[in-house]
Symmetry: D2
Subunit: 136 residues, 4 copies
C-alpha cells in the first residue's frame, strides 16, 4: 500500500460566501495529493507526461462530512491500495483539518492514454515496477 | 420531473495543459446548472439563502466520458427526478458539447441546513410546494 | 473603435467569504470579454491559436470601485481604442452590475508570439485588416 | 521594510492550454504572499477579519515577464515599503521560479473597511504598531 500525506492551507480565493472552502476546490486538492503520491515513486507527474502518457480523470467521487474554512491547514491522505494491472489507476482520498476532523473522503480514477495515438493504453511497466515495492 | 438546460462556453482559464477543460471545473458547471434549475421554481438560489436555508454539498459524483475543449459550448442538463421528503436534495447531471456528444454525467446531493442553528433541517414546505407541479 | 459588450452571472464558486466576487476572478471575466470582442472580427481566439499565434498577457491593471455579489449580472465592456502596429494589443475594460454601477475598470495588454519560434512577432496583417473597418 | 518570502508549486489545474500558469492565478498567489507577510506581524489575516476589519482590494497591477509551468516552484516575495497612515495598504510583489528567473512583478492595494459600518476606515493602530519595528 502506498500512503502519502500532503498539507496545504485554504486560500481566501477558495472560500465561498458560506465561508466554506468551495466544494469544487477539492478536485484540485486531490490532484495535489496524487502528484505528491507519485513523486514518492522516483518520478514526477510531469515526467509521466514527458514519457508520453497522459492521465485524464475518468471518475471522481467525494463525500463531504464537514466544511473547511479559510486558512485551515488541510492534510490530504492519498492511498493506492493495489498495483495496477489494466488501463486505470485509482487513488483513495481523505482530507482532515488541523483538529484531525475528517472533512471528506473520495476517490479519483485516471485512465492511461498514449499521447501519440490519443488512445487508452495499459499502465506502463516502469510505473508498475516503481509501485511494486509498496505491495510486498 | 424537472429538467433544466443551460449553456455556457469553456473559458481559456478553465483549460489545462492537456488542452482539456480541467476536470474540477465541472463542479462549477454543475452548480450553474442547479442554480438555473432552481430559478424555474419561481425563486433563486440567492432567495433560498436569504430565507435562512444553506445548501452545502454532501456528495459529488462525476463519470467523465470525453473531454471538453476551449470555447466549446456546453449544454448542462440538470434533472430533479423526485420531490424531496427529507433533509437532502439530489440533482442529476449530463454535459454535452455542441456536437451532442455526452462529455460526462454525475450527481450532486445537497443538505438543507438552517442558517440560525447551523443544523440540518427538512427541505422547507415552500420548496417542495414549488416543485410539486413537476411531479404530477 | 471596437466596443464589445458581454454579460455573465457571478457563480457561487466565484464568491469569497466577504460575499464578494473574488478580486482575481476579473482576470477571467476580462478574458471572456476579449474573446467576444475578437469574435466580432470574423474569427475566434481559437482560430488565432490555430493560425500559429499565441497571445500571452504582458500586463494587467484593475481598479476596483465596488464589489459584485453572487448571481449579479455583470456587463463587461471591452474596447480596442486604436489599431495595432507593433507586437502588442491592448484591451480596455469596464464591468458594470445590473444596476448600471461601475464595478471596476482596467486594461490587459497581450503580446503576439509566434508558436513555432516561441518569439514575439508583429500582429499579423489578417488581424489588423479585420480591425481596420472599426477605425475609419 | 517588511519582506516576506513564500513558496508554492503550480498546480495542474492552474495551467492553461498554452502550458502556462494562467495569468489570473497570480491574484491568488499574491494573496498567499500577503497572508504570509501579515502572519509575521503576530496575527493572521483571519484575526484581522475577526477584529472587525475587512480588506477588499482596490487596485491590482501585474507585469508579466516570463511564464511559469506546471510543477514549477514559485517564490513570492511580498514587500511593505512604508508604514500605513491612511485607509490604504500597499503590497509590492515579485514572483521567481526555481531557476531564480523573475516571472512577474506587481502590486496590490487594499482598503480598510469597518465591518459594522461597511465604510472605509483608517488602518487600526494595532496594525501600524505591529508594523512599526520593521521601519526603524
Amino acid at each position: 500500500m502506498l500512503v502519502s500525506k500532503t498539507k496545504l492551507r485554504v486560500r481566501y480565493g477558495e472560500t465561498d460566501q458560506m465561508g466554506y472552502a468551495y466544494y469544487g476546490i477539492y478536485a484540485q486538492y486531490y490532484e495535489v495529493g496524487r502528484v505528491e503520491a507519485i513523486r514518492q515513486l522516483g518520478f514526477s507527474y510531469k515526467d509521466v507526461e514527458e514519457r508520453g502518457i497522459l492521465l485524464p480523470v475518468s471518475e471522481l467521487k467525494i463525500n463531504y462530512k464537514k466544511p473547511a474554512y479559510y486558512d485551515d491547514e488541510i492534510t490530504i491522505t492519498t492511498t493506492i491500495k493495489e498495483n495496477f494491472t489494466g488501463v486505470r489507476i485509482t487513488f483513495i482520498y481523505e482530507c482532515h483539518n488541523q483538529k484531525g476532523e475528517l472533512l471528506n473522503d473520495g476517490l479519483v480514477t485516471l485512465v492511461c492514454v498514449d499521447k501519440t495515438t490519443n488512445r487508452p493504453c495499459k499502465v506502463p511497466i516502469w510505473f508498475t515496477n516503481a509501485l511494486a515495492p509498496f505491495f510486498v
